[in-house]
Symmetry: C2
Subunit: 190 residues, 2 copies
């Protein structure tokens, strides 16, 4: 995975050559078509993906309604961490919105790396978990404190490519409102 290594060199700058190499080499590349699933509800998630290029979404189903949890585009990680850590069946679906090339590491390979007892590797794991925490804490705050319009404005400011690559009705499901409401929100702010 030479290609992946040069990407990770950019992302994990503070880590050593050796650790980044070991990490990169543990991944395999795979191609997924638009509409294909990386993870389906009911299965235990045993992989972490890193998107080379493409777009994916995570969603949950509840009372026949779909709720989008997350969009992931190029150079982002994707997994069901909860299912992966607890080894319990996932209730998350991860599906491609575009054709996607993805690098995949299995839970077992990841644990092998942790088992090497390399401090730096644990630190990499900690850093990733900390970033995930910060991201989701921010999302919780926004859902608690901001109305639909404010959440939409934050989204288009922070993730400028999203609205260009993802249809509007999916953005609405991500914001927790209906496509009709999002249409009115957009009308209201322009």
């Amino acid at each position: 995975m030479r290609e992946l290594k040069s990407i990770f060199d950019q992302i994990f700058r503070e880590f050593s050559e050796e650790v980044v190499s070991l990490f990169s080499e543990a991944f395999k590349q795979k191609g997924l078509k638009k509409g294909e699933y990386f993870l389906r509800e009911g299965r235990i998630c045993n992989h972490i993906g890193f998107i080379k290029n493409g777009a994916m979404m995570c969603y949950y189903l509840k009372d026949g309604k779909r709720y989008i949890d997350e969009f992931s585009l190029d150079y982002e990680f994707i997994t069901d961490y909860s299912s992966l850590l607890n080894q319990r069946p996932s209730n998350k679906n991860i599906q491609c919105i575009e054709g996607t090339e993805i690098f995949i590491i299995s839970k077992d390979k990841l644990n092998d790396l942790y088992k090497k007892n390399n401090v730096e590797f644990e630190r990499l794991g900690r850093t990733m978990a900390e970033q995930l925490y910060l991201q989701w804490h921010e999302k919780s705050k926004s859902l608690l404190m901001d109305n639909a319009t404010e959440r939409y404005i934050k989204l288009i400011e922070n993730r400028t490519e999203l609205p260009q690559r993802v249809p509007q009705y999916l953005i609405a499901e991500y914001l927790g409102i209906t496509p009709e409401s999002l249409s009115r929100v957009r009308k209201g702010i322009s």
Copy 2:
């Protein structure tokens, strides 16, 4: 901090004596009265607290309205991780709801521990960050997918002591609804 050590021995069972000792010894104990602050908006958060006994809440202010982010009771950690990691002024307030005895570790002492390059210590940090992530991811999901009644039911099921120790109008602010609405929600489910 012999007392803290025996608590952490229970919580961090999978870690060695040495690591738990080092960790425990880095804390200092402090007493806070009801209404006192552990952290105020505008300051950089340089500490992590672990509550020996008592109750605290984290809240944000927006347009003069208070939004409660989190309650922490006995044996729970409390900090503004975001301010701590990024060394930026916090916009979070952490205040005692009851008189509280708390163990406190400073950011510097924590970093000293990380700098020891002890794999186990990094792993402890990773584990804590992973747990935090799972907790906040779950909260985001609930805010996105559940209505006020469902969120209240989950709360009283998962955190049974909370409603007994915390006044109802604070529970309402935590759920993101008004005290009046919570009153009606309770009427509706009983």
